[in-house]
């Protein structure tokens, strides 16, 4: 909160601004505030949640047109119409967002753009929307006798609304919801495995987009009191996009700066609008190539450049792991039961009637040659794949085919074979995403009980601090995970999985790429995790680690379980030897030998 202290003088300046402006300048300022609200909405959807939404200007239009139609044709008062308009804009947001459940990135961009065109097409032709001429004579919004037809007084209304909109956007981005949205933007699979309900989060992003578009539309209708199709066309969508990109799409404040700057620039270049568009286009291209994070990212880029020039040579160090307090595993029973699971892909049976039972508190190894179905099995257990046949039970509860986020909230945590850390989140934030165990229905608290959200965020941060200490990550807590050595990234992923306080931990080749010392530490950590009451299933090729760590080992080959037992028994099992080395009748394949000799 202290970091936001600089907002106070800015707010005071914004409050005093009208005293220094003439009638036209205040109108420009009014328009700038409206665009700033729109830009914040687009920043939330596109920058934070990563949804390429090119229909933001249509949401703006829906808000403005709804007010215009309701007041002039249905006889509503301005504020009643405004409230309905917000609702309509949010519903429109949901409708436009539905395709996001099925497609992402450019696909989504085209569909949303197409729907925005459909909207403009409708308002240009529908009688109720006044066709190409638009709707004039929208009433002046009444406000306790204050004359809002004055641009000066309307500015203060806008300022209050803008402050609320900005505060809510900042609350969202700096809280668990914003982190989940950003995690989803970086890697939706991993975010799902960490408890983020992806479909609902995407819809949330579009509802927010609709809300901000609607708010801006209502203010626009109240300010200009005239709506026409050309205010909501694709050229304005591009201008809005330019604001967000130039300002910095993942920074809300950057979006505001971009919006204000471009509105003023547009005003200054009103007589040369052709050149102005040329200018925006060029600046967007240059920003994309040279400053991908926009104006908001420039300080960070400069700092990085300076640090590189100074040659900051200190290498990040992993601290020691502080073992967990041993706790007896709860009650016993089976933590995981896989019953005759078969998974077929077109033309390939990856798992063929696999059954295994892992008692609570065990460390179970799963080994087998490459392509034997180990990771597929993990994907089935953690909900990424729905098995073709068979069922998966967690502590006796049948959770076959449950979505990853649900399994995650039920206590299943996993790591990935080829690391899936959220690259644009710091190490601490990666862990915070794991710590957040709230169901998505919690979203209602953001508008209704924001202080509870802030309180929850504080407890999460405290727990993240503990976890970072425990896993020896204090040195790198605020680093960008991509910049760290591989061994540290593996440790972060393990810490992130443990942040979920799981009852079942699935580790997919946790020792891959680690050096001898790091493998030894990994063994210790996994034992301590187990001693704290967590059941661990581990896929690993490092036989030394498997032999020393696991109490029981299951061997997969070509999608079947070929052996199951204590490590020493399994290692000499004839089928296992045959699977790794080939039987005596055939020459062993190179891959199998390499596999076995690791």
């Amino acid at each position: 909160m202290k970091r936001l202290a600089w907002l106070v003088p800015v707010a005071v300046a914004a409050w005093l601004l009208p005293y220094g402006l003439d009638g036209y300048a205040i109108h420009v300022a009014d328009v700038a505030v409206i665009f700033a609200i729109l830009a914040v909405g687009l920043g939330l959807t596109m920058g934070v949640a990563g949804q390429i939404n090119l229909a933001q200007v249509a949401f703006f239009g829906v808000g403005a047109y709804a007010v215009a139609i309701l007041t002039t044709q249905a006889g509503f008062g301005f504020w009643a119409a405004a409230a309905l308009a917000l609702l309509i804009a949010m519903v429109f947001g949901i409708l436009v967002g539905i395709p996001a459940l099925r497609m992402q990135s450019h696909y989504l961009g085209i569909v949303t753009l197409g729907l925005a065109l459909a909207f403009t097409n409708w308002v240009t032709n529908a009688d109720i929307a006044g066709r190409a001429e638009g709707i004039s004579d929208i009433p002046v919004p009444p406000l306790f006798g204050v004359d809002l037809s004055s641009g000066y007084l309307f500015y203060y209304v806008e300022l209050v609304v803008f402050a609320l909109a900005l505060a809510f956007a900042l609350l969202v981005t700096r809280s668990p919801l914003g982190r989940r949205l950003r995690a989803m933007r970086d890697d939706d699979l991993a975010a799902g495995a960490l408890g983020a309900q992806i479909p609902l989060l995407r819809m949330t992003a579009f509802v927010l987009s609709g809300l901000y578009g609607g708010v801006a539309g209502v203010l626009y209708a109240g300010l200009i009191r005239f709506v026409a199709p050309e205010s909501f066309n694709i050229a304005n969508m591009f201008l809005l996009l330019a604001m967000v990109i130039i300002g910095g799409r993942s920074s809300i404040l950057g979006c505001v700066v971009g919006a204000v700057a471009l509105t003023l620039l547009r005003e200054a270049l009103l007589d040369a609008s052709g050149y102005a568009q040329l200018g925006y286009g060029l600046v967007v291209v240059l920003v994309v190539v040279f400053a991908p994070r926009g104006l908001a990212g420039l300080p960070g880029q400069l700092r990085l450049l300076l640090r590189r020039r100074r040659g900051d040579g200190s290498r990040a160090q992993l601290g020691a792991f502080l073992p967990y307090e041993p706790a007896p595993s709860d009650a016993g029973g089976n933590a995981l039961e896989v019953r005759a699971v078969t998974k077929r892909f077109t033309g390939l049976t990856a798992l063929d009637g696999v059954s295994l039972t892992v008692p609570a508190g065990q460390i179970r190894g799963i080994v087998g040659p490459n392509g034997s179905g180990k990771t597929t099995l993990f994907n089935v257990i953690s909900g990424f794949y729905t098995p073709t046949q068979g069922s998966v039970l967690l502590r006796g509860q049948d959770l076959t085919g449950a979505a990853p986020y649900r399994l995650s909230l039920c206590g299943v945590a996993r790591t990935f074979q080829n690391l899936r850390l959220f690259e644009d989140l710091s190490v601490r934030e990666n862990i915070l995403v794991g710590l957040d165990r709230t169901p998505t229905s919690w979203i209602w608290r953001y508008p209704s009980l924001p202080w509870k959200v802030l309180g929850y965020e504080r407890t999460l941060r405290a727990r993240a601090g503990e976890l970072i200490e425990r896993f020896g990550l204090a040195d790198v807590a605020d680093a960008d995970p991509r910049s760290l050595p591989y061994g540290i990234q593996r440790r972060i992923e393990l810490a992130r999985a443990m942040a979920m306080s799981p009852s079942l931990l699935l580790l997919d080749e946790p020792a891959a790429g680690l050096n001898g010392e790091e493998v030894r530490q990994l063994g210790e950590i996994v034992r301590s995790i187990r001693d704290s009451g967590v059941t661990v299933v581990i896929i690993e090729h490092n036989m030394g680690l498997v032999m020393s760590l696991c109490e029981q080992v299951t061997v997969l080959s070509s999608g079947r379980v070929i052996a199951d037992g204590r490590p020493a028994e399994v290692a000499v099992h004839p089928d296992v030897v045959a699977a790794y080395l080939g039987d005596s009748m055939s020459t062993p394949s190179e891959a199998a030998v390499e596999e076995a000799s690791r």
Binding site: R102, Q104, I234
Partner: protein
């Protein structure tokens, strides 16, 4: 029935142009994974270049088309050079970068040719052919024939020449292609130039059927893009089928819903891609939920 067939002919003609636009998208997309949102604006520049040259010199339209292809090919090379640092890296950034280029091209067109646009007389003077009561404008047949010929040539290039094969290899795996000695940068640049050339061809052909103006690129680009998606992004047969399908959808929407055709077209399109995001021919590297 007569109305139906008349609409069909119109739909196929526009469909042929959408197919050319979609092929231009697809060839760039599959070789370098770049979604070129500036493509529509390149089509517009192509339309302007061809019509301006044709009106100014009175040389045959075919010459004008070739001039237009050269102009846009160069523009394609410039765009590719600018965005090269982002290739195969940040998808969203590339997408936005090309939107920026689109705006630059559109603003450039306004500065050069003015905001109003101009009509282009049909380069084929003969009257429409009367076939069992259906009047088929001769120019429509020319458009369909030229589009078909261009498609054939492109297929020959991709499948029968060494450079074409190299481009296919880059499309499948750019790292492996580098490893076997293909100059990926050059191959990408060529793909971009070909894509831009196809855009110019589409723009030149559609010029006499529409009113050439700076904003035509936006709509044409989105429609070509939607056509590519309908057929299956990155697939060349998909681009052709998707283009024709979208042309027909467009024509029948215009026939039945008049001024609301765009609304209906895009709603139907949204529903279709919701049901089948990978399009008719699917896409191997589809990026969906």
């Amino acid at each position: 029935m007569q109305v139906f067939l008349q609409t069909l002919i119109g739909g196929v003609t526009f469909g042929a142009v959408y197919a050319l636009v979609a092929m231009g998208f697809s060839i760039v997309y599959r070789t370098m994974g770049l979604v070129n949102f500036a493509h529509g604006s390149v089509v517009m520049i192509g339309a302007y270049a061809a019509s301006t040259f044709y009106l100014a010199t009175q040389l045959p339209f075919a010459v004008a088309i070739i001039v237009a292809i050269t102009v846009t090919g160069l523009i394609g090379l410039i765009i590719e050079r600018f965005l090269r640092p982002l290739e195969n890296k940040d998808f969203t950034l590339m997408l936005i970068g090309t939107i920026g280029f689109g705006a630059v091209l559109e603003a450039g067109a306004v500065l050069i040719w003015g905001a109003t646009g101009h009509a282009v007389p049909s380069p084929v003077a003969t009257g429409p052919i009367d076939l069992a009561g259906i009047r088929i404008p001769t120019y429509n047949l020319v458009v369909i024939a030229v589009a078909a010929a261009a498609t054939g040539l492109l297929a020959l290039f991709l499948q029968r020449t060494k450079r074409g094969a190299a481009m296919q290899a880059v499309a499948m795996d750019h790292q492996a292609a580098t490893a076997v000695g293909i100059h990926v940068g050059r191959s990408n640049a060529m793909a971009f130039a070909i894509g831009a050339g196809l855009a110019a061809l589409a723009g030149s052909l559609i010029g006499p059927m529409l009113y050439v103006n700076p904003t035509m690129g936006g709509t044409l680009g989105i429609k070509g893009f939607a056509a590519a998606m309908l057929g299956g992004f990155g697939s060349m047969p998909g681009a052709i089928v998707g283009g024709l399908a979208f042309g027909l959808l467009d024509a029948f929407a215009a026939g039945n819903f008049q001024e609301y055709s765009e609304l209906v077209t895009f709603l139907v399109f949204a529903v279709i891609v919701m049901i089948r995001p990978t399009g008719i021919f699917g896409e191997a590297t589809v990026n969906r939920a």
